[in-house]
């Protein structure tokens, strides 16, 4: 997609990337390392958890970026372009992992928080989900919230977290994830359900229903 000019005549004042600035940054790959290296590494580390693999993925991202530099036209920032490449590299990594080992994890949360429900299958009144405040927009601006989110994602087993993030962060369809990781539809579904259940529980306990957090 080329640089959009005049497309939003009289519209919002969206900050646009200066073409010259983008061109300079794009023409000097070693500057990417200083400017975007850490950010890419942080994201990769959150996704794959292993520093050496995260470093490899960042390296592959930069190398792929150099090879395809002519495809970068400054329509977006260098960083978001690099992030897009990194996401593909992460998927490739998991695809390979899925071929080598079984990606299915049905051990995690075997009883799906059974203590939350009475034996007949209804929420125990004291333990049912409570109203979450503050609302979404407010939380988005608080670093402590994002740290809680990171810690909660970190508590999920690696493979469960990986499928959850593919589905909810990369916005891949379940079918794509299944074929990428060679897992069955129903196993993916079980893993996602348990990931959601556990993440909700963790966020409730450590943030939304935590009396020590100032809302």
């Amino acid at each position: 997609m080329s640089f959009q000019s005049g497309a939003t005549a009289g519209g919002a004042s969206k900050p646009e990337v200066q073409p010259e600035a983008a061109a300079t940054a794009a023409s000097d790959p070693s500057r990417w390392v200083d400017e975007d290296g850490d950010v890419l590494y942080r994201y990769a580390l959150e996704r794959v958890r292993k520093p050496d693999i995260a470093q490899d993925l960042v390296q592959e991202t930069f190398l792929a970026a150099v090879r395809t530099i002519d495809r970068f036209r400054g329509g977006s920032t260098v960083r978001s372009w690099l992030c897009g490449i990194l996401k593909h590299k992460i998927c490739d990594y998991y695809r390979k992992l899925g071929r080598e080992t079984s990606f299915t994890d049905l051990e995690f949360l075997n009883d799906e928080c059974a203590e939350k429900f009475v034996p007949e299958g209804y929420w125990v009144h004291m333990n049912g989900p409570k109203e979450w405040k503050p609302e979404a927009d407010e939380v988005m601006h608080r670093d402590e919230f994002w740290k809680t989110m990171r810690d909660c994602l970190g508590k999920l087993p690696e493979r469960v977290a990986a499928v959850f993030m593919m589905r909810e962060m990369d916005e891949l369809e379940s079918k794509e994830i299944c074929s990428m990781l060679s897992i069955s539809d129903s196993n993916l579904w079980v893993m996602l359900h348990r990931a959601r259940m556990a993440l909700r529980e963790c966020l409730a306990m450590n943030w939304f229903e935590n009396p020590e957090v100032r809302h």
Partner: protein
């Protein structure tokens, strides 16, 4: 879940609804499934009926959607809150590799 002040008739109605409505554990599973594919009309109606008597599951549904919104913002935010750094030698190695 049954309140004591209900009359016999009310109780029978509740029991009838219960027989056709899924339990909360089932609803939690269905809701998760609904995050990944379109549920049938019958299933969506069952959920509506379930919400009439269970605000917990209605909240659970809201929170699942909320977690999706939050998850989509996460990649953007992680660069700001994490203090992990690419080791200096890795950076130097990278720059060298890029110059080739």
């Amino acid at each position: 879940m049954f309140q004591e002040h209900r009359s016999w008739l009310q109780l029978q109605i509740v029991l009838l609804i219960c027989r056709f409505a899924p339990t909360c554990t089932e609803v939690a599973r269905i809701l998760s499934l609904g995050m990944d594919k379109q549920l049938s009309l019958i299933m969506r109606m069952k959920l509506r009926i379930h919400y009439l008597m269970c605000s917990f599951c209605e909240r659970y549904a809201k929170q699942l959607k909320y977690m999706r919104t939050v998850a989509r913002e996460f990649p953007e935010k992680i660069g700001e809150i994490s203090d992990a750094k690419l080791p200096t030698e890795a950076k130097e190695r990278l720059k060298e590799a890029l110059l080739k």
